[in-house]
Structures are given as C-alpha cells and as structure tokens.
Symmetry: C2
Subunit: 283 residues, 2 copies
C-alpha cells in the first residue's frame, strides 16, 4: 500500500500546467482503498511477475478508476459533491478543470504502461495496454456507465443488472487481476482460475456496494449513502432484498476462493485476503 | 482518405450499449478533414512502415482528436453547439452521453494500438501507445487545454501563446508524424527531420486556424467563426495582426518543407502536399 501511494505520488505530475496537475493529484492522492492496485500486485506476486511492470500496471489501473470517479461525480452525471469525505474535483476546481483532469489521468494511465527503455519487455507493455483499454472502454467501464445512465427508473432483471455491473465495475477489477497475471506468462490453467477469481470478486464488490449504500452512513462510507434509492437506480438490494444480497455476496466469495485454489499457484495468500476484504469491508 | 473512413467505420462500434456506440460514431464519422490520419499514413509511407500498424495508428490519433472535440464543445468548456455544420454531440445526445462517448473514444484509441495476435510487432505497439499517450495527456493536448482555459481574458506573450498551442494542437499533429515514423525504424537523421516537420506544421495549423476564425464564415468553416474574439481568447491574429500572421504561416510552411528535405527520405510527396494543404486550406 505504501509503495503504491509513493509511486502514484511520483507519477502524477504536480507540474502539469495551469492547475491541471493539482486537480489530477487531488483526484488520485485522496486516501482511496487502492483495491485495484493491490489486486494487480497480488496477482503479479502469485505468478512471480515482473515487479516494475506490476507497479506501473497497479498505478495505471488506479488512474483509470480515479478518472472515472471524477467524471462520474460531475453535474451532468451523478452530480455528487462529496467523495471520500472531501469535496469532489469539480466542486474544488470547477467543471472544466475536472473534465480535463479526468481526460489527462486516462492518458497518463497508458503512458505509465509504455515507458521508454528496455526495462519492461515490449510484449508485456502491449498486453497491459490491451487489457486496460478493453476494460476501460465501450465494452467495459464506459459501456457499463452508459447502461447505468439508461437504466435510471427502469426495472431490470437480475441478468440485466449483472451485465451492467460486469461492465461498469467488474471489468476493471477483473482487468486488475489479469494485468497482474500479464506481468508473467502463467499457464492457461492458472490464467483461467485467476480470471474466474477476478469475475467473482468484481461482482461481489458491486453487491457489497449496493448493501453498504442502504446500511452505512456518510462518515463511514466517505460518500453520500442512499443515493441509489434517491436516484431510483436498480440495485441488488432493490432486486433481491438485503438478506439475499448478503447471501449472494458470501456465495461469490466462495466462488472466488475456489477459483483461486484451482490455479495451482503456490502463493495466492494476498489474493485470498483481498477477496475477504472486498466482502467484509464497511466502506 | 477512403481507407481511413472505412477503417474508422469498422472499428468504432455501433453496438456499444445504451446508445453509447451511436454517440461515438456520430462524433467520429462526421466528414472531418482527417488531417491527422493522413499525416500518419504519409509519414509511414515515407519510412516504408508497417501498413497495418499505420492504419491503426491513423485511426487511433483521429479518435483522440474526435474525443477532444466532444469534450471541448461541452457547456463547461467552450459551450459550442455547431461542429462541422452539425449539432455537437452533447446537443444531440445529452451531456452525460457526450462525456462517456469522449471517454470511450480515448480508450478505444489505445485499444486499436494494441491488438491481439502477432501481426504488429509488440515493440511497435508499445512505441505507438507511448507516443499517443504523451501527446494526448498533461504534457500535450490536455495540458494545452488547461492553459487555454486559464488564459481567457489574459494578455499572452508570443512565447506563451506558442507554448499553449505547441501542447494544445501541436503535440497531436507532431505525434501523428512520429507515429507514422514509428511504424518502421528510420535513421536518427530522418526522425529528426520528420519531428521538425511535424512541429512546424503543428504551429502553422494553429496560426491558420486563428486567421480563419476572423476571415471565414460559418458555412465555409463548418463551425461558429469569431468565437475567439467573442470569448476574449488570445490568438495569433490578436497578437500579430492579420498580415503578419499570414507571413508567419508561410514561413512555417517553408520550415516544414526544408525539414522534410533534410530527412534524406525518397518518398515525402504526401507529407509535402499535406503541409501545403494545412497552410492553404479555407476551413
């Protein structure tokens, strides 16, 4: 965690012009949980991946996450004023700067993955760019957000809700695991197990998010709770109820742990711990 | 040009969910000049580059350009309602969808550069990602836009204006040339000449833009003219006057052509023609 914070602070430039760097740093260096970077590093540890590639991938995926929060909080999207207990980027720096900071963070993510020099094999760089771009774009996170926009006030089936979350949050969480794995060349068996782990964990994350939105308070959560209901958004809690949502989260945790065991990898302790953290967190 | 249009139409997905694909295609398939893709292809032709890599790079750079226009037109930025003679993306699809479409286009640009399979060497993929990310991000286009935002109503020196434009529009035009060059491995001499060509052409493009903003009408220009003056933005025309701006554009054209001759490359005809087009265009 400390190494991730240090690397982010080193790589997100304070000297970007006209206040842009300040807005970028404010968006990123804000005490987030760093779940995605930790997943990258844990997966890379499990496959004995290239350590410098893993740290770059860890930070890149966090920059994509951070930019998505900046844009998602803007008035034309969720119009949220509080994020991790602080004013959101557009409240602090204005909408235009928030828009640009998000855009620049996305570009920086890819810049981190393709550094000059020969320290990281080009094949690893290219694979990391591919995984991140696919998970951030129309088939992943951005596509999920478009579905989310279109489904306010709609009644979704569980399959539709799952598809929305698979893209909106699941794709980047799964990509975090796969990017860690891409820092080495694991066996097809290990890769399939890691992917199944990432998929189960990604969905569990969203189910728990929906639960916390109705059970937590803003001090614990660091953002405004109850927003899903207020915005009439479909959630697992609105679809399944609280008790069945909790049972579903535990079931997904089991799936994730079984998938991990199927990889045949020796050192999956950190990945196990992260799955437990995702399901048992209170913010 | 026809091949670029065909490739863009193939690669920008109509089936992205919840209307996102429609907004992305509307933003891209709109009869733009395609200057950046043509620069990539012309530079690649001059160095005898990998043709598939060149076409992907050509489309990727155009997607970055297209996303920047979508975000730049939004109400919190330039608040423009007309672009290439049509309603802007947020007017047509709403601000939230415009924001997402821009974000998804940026991700798609990097996705195009790092395809599965072995058709394009990983070293070329990684170099293309690096060049595009650097030119689109805080040190390039996004940084230039931040300076632009901060300089409304300010009096800039010529050096400050040049620095703003070097980032805001110059970086991506220069990157277009360098990405074409990166589709092969040209000599250091050729690379330096191509870079100097790209820099001169990038600045010339902006000087001519400033001239057209005061001398053209919206039917010819395809966007609202006179906006710079209305928004009290510094321009070459406001700084140097019309006659000296025209002389400066011709001088930059000469610089670009001299740089091109210095490369020692045999086939630079297309690059020459594009430099002439940039300076002599009327929209």
């Amino acid at each position: 965690m400390a190494r991730v914070e240090g690397a982010l602070s080193e790589w997100v430039p304070a000297d970007a012009p006209a206040g842009l760097g300040l807005a970028m740093r404010y968006a990123v260096l804000d005490g987030g949980k760093r779940l995605r970077p930790l997943l990258v590093l844990a997966a890379s540890e499990a496959v004995i991946g290239h350590p410098q590639a893993a740290m770059r991938a860890a930070c890149a995926v966090e920059l994509i996450h951070a930019y998505s929060l900046v844009h998602d909080d803007m008035p034309c999207m969720d119009n949220d004023v509080l994020r991790r207990g602080k004013p959101t980027v557009h409240v602090k720096f204005g909408q235009a700067q928030a828009l640009l900071a998000g855009d620049a963070l996305q570009a920086l993510a890819f810049e981190l993955l393709a550094p000059e020099g020969n320290d990281i094999p080009a094949s690893v760089q290219a694979r990391l760019c591919r995984l991140l771009a696919q998970s951030a774009g129309h088939a992943g996170m951005a596509g999920g957000q478009a579905i989310d926009l279109a489904s306010v006030g709609q009644v979704l089936t569980e399959a539709q809700l799952r598809e929305m979350h698979r893209r909106k949050t699941g794709a980047l969480l799964e990509a975090s695991v796969m990017m860690g794995a891409a820092c080495a060349q694991p066996s097809p068996l290990a890769l399939a197990g890691l992917q199944a782990y990432g998929q189960a964990l990604g969905l569990a994350f969203q189910v728990v998010d929906d639960i916390l939105d109705v059970t937590s308070d803003s001090a614990t959560l660091g953002k405004t709770p109850g927003k899903d209901a207020a915005q009439d958004k479909p959630t697992y809690v609105s679809l399944l109820g609280l008790a069945r949502s909790r049972a579903f989260a535990r079931e997904l945790l089991d799936q994730a742990l079984v998938a991990l065991a199927s990889t045949g990898l020796a050192n999956t302790r950190a990945l196990q711990a992260l799955a437990l953290m995702v399901v048992n967190r209170d913010n």
